[in-house]
């Protein structure tokens, strides 16, 4: 009505009408509630139902958490304090256990005076992935990204700095030889020579060089055994190592799967299907009990490394599928243009295909990481001290025997904080990619 009035009569008006507030029932909380909660019979029922569910869920939980006792030395002390404060049997959380053992839940048995090391490693990792995750970051950081894995390994496991440096030099040597030969033209020979040089370095020269350097400049951190890793540190180490190490493998698998060579693509398909068809927990069992059967007699490296290897093989199949999606999203014109310019397969892949396909795949990779990070709880089943297993051992001590929910709630909250943040990032990235692709 008002619009018709405005259009038909307005030109006859000689003074402008000031904007008037809408009718009362159309503003503020009332209107909001009418629109969003009680707009129809179905909605009213739903609202009541939801409110009831909410009440049901929070009725016991909130007072229990709110009454929580933070200062106590053991579960029985907690109970005594509770009885004193609220009366016997009143539900009250015993957060004191988290207060007493948060360090174990976060860092496992990592030496108390070295906690800065995993934290610094995490910080370094975050800086190192900046240029990958945010295209706005300065390109020069890429050098840091290349060096980061070695520094992180050194920070976490300690020992002489020169071990990781020698290992890194292997890549440098291989790359240098490859680049030198590739300039002369023969790509296949370059690859072979580069690989050979790197292997020769690692097997023959790396140890003496590391030892030599260590005797000249003994830069070393206190070594930390893998079994000291636990809690969320362990989860992050397994998750991040798994994703980062599986990337190259995943790229190769994805390329192999799209390959026109029958045998190569079939092998890749078989690998991916077998890995994805069997649950992670079975693969972890494999890592724990049967992997040794397939290695030379007497081989024995620690379970964390075995788990990382298994997780890497596992997630490479998933990463391969993510990257295959990225490859498929690339228009065929890109391949044709690369061909027409005379670029070879590997040149085209490296310079044209992968930079674009990987960029499209990043949200998928982040999602894979979230999944893997959550799945690291499964290692508790093979007795690694992930947050779940740490909770169990804390409850196995005489002090904290009767504690149950508090530890799980804490673990769940930390997981939620990590995963939620990452999934938001992934969604943000997807939106941005959509925009840039029109």
């Amino acid at each position: 009505m008002s619009e018709i009035h405005a259009e038909t009569v307005a030109f006859a008006r000689d003074t402008m009408m000031p904007p008037a507030p809408p009718p009362r029932r159309e503003t503020g909380a009332v209107r909001w509630m009418r629109e969003n909660l009680f707009s129809g019979p179905l909605n009213i029922i739903l609202t009541i139902l939801a409110a009831w569910l909410l009440w049901l869920a929070l009725r016991d939980l909130l007072p229990w958490a709110w009454r929580g006792i933070w200062q106590a030395g053991s579960a029985s002390e907690c109970r005594a304090i509770r009885d004193q404060l609220y009366g016997e049997g009143v539900p009250a959380a015993c957060w004191a256990v988290v207060r007493a053992r948060w360090r174990q839940l976060l860092f496992g048995f990592y030496p108390a005076d070295g906690l800065w090391r995993p934290l610094l490693a995490l910080g370094l990792f975050l800086v190192a992935v900046l240029p990958v995750l945010f295209s706005g970051a300065p390109r020069r950081l890429l050098w840091l990204s290349a060096a980061a894995p070695f520094v992180i390994v050194w920070l976490l496991w300690g020992g002489s700095l020169w071990g990781p440096v020698a290992a890194a030099l292997g890549f440098v040597v291989g790359w240098a030889i490859w680049a030198a030969v590739a300039r002369r033209g023969n790509a296949g020979l370059a690859l072979l020579l580069g690989l050979g040089a790197a292997l020769a370095w690692w097997f023959l020269l790396a140890r003496p060089v590391a030892a030599g350097l260590a005797s000249v400049a003994p830069l070393a951190l206190v070594p930390v055994e893998s079994r000291a890793f636990g809690g969320f540190t362990l989860s992050l180490v397994i998750g991040l190592a798994g994703i980062c190490l599986s990337l190259p493998l995943g790229v190769l698998l994805a390329l192999a799967r799209r390959s026109e060579l029958f045998f190569i693509s079939k092998v890749a398909v078989a690998y991916i299907e077998v890995i994805r068809g069997v649950p992670l927990i079975v693969w972890l069992l494999v890592a724990q009990v049967v992997l040794n059967y397939f290695l030379p007699r007497g081989t024995n490296f620690d379970i964390l490394l075995r788990v990382i290897i298994m997780v890497t093989l596992f997630s490479s199949a998933y990463i391969a599928e993510v990257i295959r999606g990225g490859l498929a999203a690339l228009p065929s014109g890109q391949y044709e243009a690369a061909d027409a310019l005379g670029l070879g397969y590997w040149q085209a892949t490296r310079l044209i295909v992968l930079p674009q396909a990987l960029k499209i795949s990043i949200p998928g990779i982040v999602n894979s990481f979230i999944g893997l990070f959550k799945d690291t709880t499964l290692v508790s089943i093979i007795s690694l001290f992930d947050p779940m297993r740490i909770s169990s051992t804390i409850r196995a001590t005489t002090e904290w025997g009767g504690i149950y929910w508090e530890l799980y709630v804490f673990v769940a909250l930390v997981f939620f904080a990590f995963c939620f943040a990452m999934s938001r990032y992934s969604i943000w990235l997807e939106r941005r990619l959509e925009r840039s692709h029109r």
């Binding site: 909660l37 068809g277 069997v278 009990v289 397939f294 709880t377 929910w405 995963c419 999934s423």
Partner: protein, 407 residues
């Protein structure tokens, strides 16, 4: 006319293996094949050496030995005198059972939550968002354990059902939710039950026939016939009639609290809390992912589609059923099936609540007692692989059907 693929007959030169597109692929594949064969031979050799050194062999004979352990929840008859093979079979069926239950429930929860998340109702929308985010971002293992603990804490123990001062009672007098499981009535097949089954099947068929007849009539004459009520009648009436005429061939074994000894229910079937917990944890967890898929699917069907349908005069319900859903389903179904796949694989977390799935029987107790890790894990892996391949095979068939429709 010369053939380009075969230039003037020149002697074969080794460099052609790398430089000729006809041979290069072959060369690469042969090299890859050799490398792979080498790797397999190396692993196999290690295996043989290790087995010999440990004095073990590779033999599935242990499956025929007496298992000696009991399983709480079985679909087929099993005692601790049965073999490891039968225990494995029990575990396999248990895995499939919880996977099937989980998939159905997850779909219901997921579709509901996905649709409700789009609801204009602020409270419902927010609640569903919280549900989805909470379940997606916390490990499944934790959910399984928590649901199990909540379940056994929230339900009364059997003793509370007994005697004068009973503080708990059965639902409808036939179902008992207890901390030790849910006791439900179970049908007992008497004489004539087969006939009843036949009648039921025939009436289902008849209802379907009526539905298609009604549709054809409407297509032909434009006059709609009542479908729902008639079909229901066809479905229910003959069966009820047959049930009464045959002298009630099917009776229900209702759980009853026994009078003496430790309080427990006799009769009926007990669904263990470990099964229920695993089932609901899997369903809630996977449901959160399905909700996102459903929401995405509905949002993917452009608003223009529903506007066009409204403009043609279709009512919202019809629009949903005839226009939105068929299109959304194409987007929804492939990721949905891969969620089913995930759920099936995730049933292997049953160990957290002690549900006797295949991983717990064959890959747990049996493996531990017989020391046959290689054989057990091989069988375990094969089972999951076969199930996965069957499900993804079904997905491929579906995808192909969709693809055909697009032509």
């Amino acid at each position: 006319m010369t053939i380009a693929a075969e230039p003037p007959r020149r002697a074969f030169r080794p460099s052609q293996l790398i430089n000729d597109s006809r041979y290069r692929g072959l060369t690469i594949q042969v090299v890859a094949l050799l490398l792979l064969a080498g790797l397999i031979a190396y692993l196999g050799h290690n295996l043989v050496v290790n087995l010999r050194a440990l004095g073990k062999d590779f033999d599935f004979g242990f499956l025929g030995n007496r298992a000696g352990y009991d399983i709480g929840q079985t679909l087929i008859s099993y005692t601790n005198n049965d073999t490891h093979a039968r225990a494995a079979l029990v575990g396999m069926l248990n895995t499939l059972l919880v996977a099937a239950l989980g998939c159905v429930t997850a779909t219901v929860i997921g579709v509901l939550a996905g649709v409700l998340r789009l609801s204009k109702n602020w409270l419902i929308g927010r609640l569903m968002t919280v549900y989805v985010e909470l379940f997606r971002n916390v490990p499944l293992l934790l959910w399984i354990v928590l649901v199990h603990a909540v379940l056994s804490n929230a339900t009364p123990i059997p003793a509370e059902f007994r005697g004068e001062g009973a503080t708990a009672s059965m639902v409808f007098g036939v179902i008992a939710f207890t901390a030790q499981g849910t006791f439900i009535p179970w049908p007992v097949w008497g004489e004539g039950a087969e006939l009843l089954t036949v009648v039921l099947l025939l009436s289902i068929l008849a209802a379907l026939v009526w539905r298609s007849y009604a549709r054809r009539r409407q297509m032909a004459t434009g006059r709609p016939l009542p479908v729902l009520w008639v079909a229901l009648a066809i479905l229910v009436l003959p069966t009820v009639l047959a049930f009464l005429l045959l002298g009630r061939p099917v009776t229900f074994d209702v759980p009853t609290m026994r009078e003496t000894g430790i309080a427990r229910f006799n009769g009926g079937v007990n669904i263990l809390n470990s099964l229920v917990a695993l089932w609901f944890a899997l369903a809630l967890y996977t449901g959160a992912f399905i909700a996102e898929i459903v929401r995405g699917g509905i949002l993917a069907v452009s608003r223009g589609q529903s506007e066009a349908a409204f403009a043609l005069g279709l009512r919202p319900g019809r629009t949903m059923r005839l226009v939105i859903l068929p299109q959304a389903l194409r987007v929804i179904v492939p990721p949905l099936i891969s969620q089913y796949l995930n759920l099936t694989k995730n049933t292997s977390l049953a160990v957290a609540v002690g549900y006797a799935d295949l991983r717990a029987t064959l890959g747990g107790v049996t493996m531990n007692q017989t020391g046959r890790e290689l054989e057990s894990i091989l069988l375990l892996g094969l089972f999951y692989l076969v199930v996965s391949l069957v499900i993804s095979g079904a997905m491929n068939v579906y995808n192909r059907r969709i693809a055909l429709k697009e032509r």
